[in-house]
């Protein structure tokens, strides 16, 4: 990667749930807005599976706007005129933080020698970053999807560290269906001969496998209604501009095929296939109740934070029932919790898209 990311090398070894440690782990991160002299205005934003630290502003690798540009910035719901926003790249990822593409002791990429990590390990890395930055208490921790899992894990495992916890379009555990979709993606990567047991950094990456993984996952981020509205059964226009027609072959005849292929190939330019394996594994291992004796309410017994849980009615990846399950546990733990199911047509991806009601909830909850 040519871009120079902001990096912090952790002074202490980072212990991992799997039993090992990461020595001299690096955390890449971005900050937005000024930190108040009393350090009281810090908000930690946690990114999703394929997200990164570039929440707002132009992305140095893709050149596109940050993934939550519409939510984070001056005068926006997460107002960087008032808040100091910190967004780390999770460990295991590929945008600067230590991950499978990082060099091992012999200088070669770790590849599959990188240890399997968990959501809690990612948060442990974020906490180590906050420690290094001298931020003891967060005004809030915010995340959607896998970012929401990190926010919940932080609240459960580092009680008192965040005063507000905003978990959007997320779950307290990965379901069998969630794991199943991830397994399809992993098998697509590992079935690509280019994957080569993870040892592809010197040659061609398993782009075809990673693209298929992304295509399958991308479907789970959308809704049936959304796909129908956007593409229906429309045929893809030909490259020379003439109207589309069935090819009686296996080109991308339908617009939805063309769209997915584009999503898949675009993704391979910015994401490392091994990181995709490791991060999806971490999500599949996520079960907050299991970490706390099987009772989700126990996870939040001493959390001492205000919670806000948001789901979307068209999200079938982490459906509202999962949020209700979480809210039930928070109520049982006596935690102050708000919950709202917002109506939006975009499926799971609604948290990233234009949903004005979400803006109001985010701005209102963060105060």
């Amino acid at each position: 990667m040519p871009a120079a990311h902001n990096l912090l090398t952790l002074p202490d070894p980072l212990p991992l749930d799997g039993g090992g440690v990461l020595e001299r782990a690096e955390i890449a991160f971005e900050t937005y807005g000024e930190l108040a002299p009393d350090k009281s205005n810090a908000i930690l934003i946690c990114h999703a599976l394929t997200g990164d630290q570039y929440v707002a502003g132009a992305h140095p690798v893709t050149g596109k706007p940050g993934w939550w540009e519409r939510m984070v910035g001056p005068g926006k719901p997460v107002d960087t005129d008032r808040f100091h926003v910190i967004c780390p790249n999770v460990i295991g990822s590929c945008m600067g933080s230590t991950g499978p593409a990082s060099p091992g002791p012999n200088g070669a990429p770790l590849a599959m020698r990188f240890p399997v990590i968990t959501i809690r390990d990612m948060v442990r890395g974020a906490i180590a970053l906050l420690d290094a930055l001298g931020i003891e208490q967060l005004h809030g921790v915010v995340g959607g999807s896998m970012g929401g899992m990190q926010a919940l894990s932080l609240a459960a495992n580092w009680p008192g560290r965040a005063a507000r916890v905003l978990a959007i379009a997320t779950t307290a555990r990965h379901s069998a269906q969630n794991i199943a979709f991830h397994e399809v993606g992993r098998q697509a990567i590992m079935a690509d001969p280019g994957w080569n047991g993870g040892e592809y950094y010197a040659g061609a990456a398993p782009a075809a496998g990673l693209a298929v993984a992304r295509m399958a996952a991308h479907i789970t981020y959308l809704s049936e209604d959304g796909l129908t509205e956007k593409f229906g059964r429309n045929l893809q226009a030909k490259a020379d501009g003439t109207a589309g027609a069935k090819s009686f072959g296996f080109d991308a005849d339908f617009q939805v095929e063309s769209y997915l292929r584009h999503q898949g190939s675009g993704f391979t330019k910015r994401f490392d296939a091994n990181s995709y394996l490791y991060i999806t594994r971490a999500m599949d291992y996520f079960d907050l109740a299991e970490e706390h004796g099987g009772l989700l309410a126990e996870a939040f017994a001493g959390a001492g934070a205000r919670f806000c849980v948001v789901s979307f009615d068209s999200d079938w990846l982490y459906p509202t029932a999962e949020s209700r399950h979480l809210v039930h546990a928070l109520n049982a733990a006596g935690a102050p919790v708000s919950f709202v199911e917002l109506s939006a047509p975009h499926g799971h991806d609604s948290f990233l898209l234009e949903v004005p009601a979400l803006d109001r909830v985010v701005a209102g909850f963060l105060g």
């Binding site: 102050p336 708000s338 709202v340 917002l342 009601a357 909850f365």
Partner: protein, 196 residues
Amino acid sequence: MSSLRPDLAVIAARIAPDTRVLDVGCGDGALLGSLRDAKRVDARGMEIDAALVAECVARGLSVVQGDAERDLADYPDGAFDYAVLGQTLQTAQRPDLLLGELLRVGRTAFVSFPNFAHWRTRAALLWGGRMPVTRALPVSWYETRNIHHVTVADFEALAGAMGVAIRRRWFFSGGKRLAGSGANWRAEFALFELSR
């Protein structure tokens, strides 16, 4: 607190400071906000309408979107000092079960509802022969959310049958408090303070 609806203003005045309150069907959170600001109450709400929940969250209140008849089951016994059900009872599928849940999660309950035996309602039905549309019940029968119309006498009978103790009662007409005599004729709205 002067801007609160009359029944909510009475409830706000009755609730002791530094207590735990659940407002079921809390709407835009007017009562909860007032209790939090004036009495340092740990104020929680439940509301079925997502837009109203979003409004509450924007006011910094802790409000859960949910259907009281399904989701009150999530709360432990006696989780609240007070449970409030303001002008929502008559919209329930099973008001009796809802009342039971209210007094399971709250040690004291406040319940208010429009009184269907008010003289205007009686007159409209008796002389017009049609379901009443009045100041207190402004919506036609086919689109009203009120599916279980109830009178002061009905409610008192239900409380008796359920073994619920009526601690106090208030009656309202035209936004003003009424004395209790002839309430089943004269009251547009009633408010009861209940305990197990």
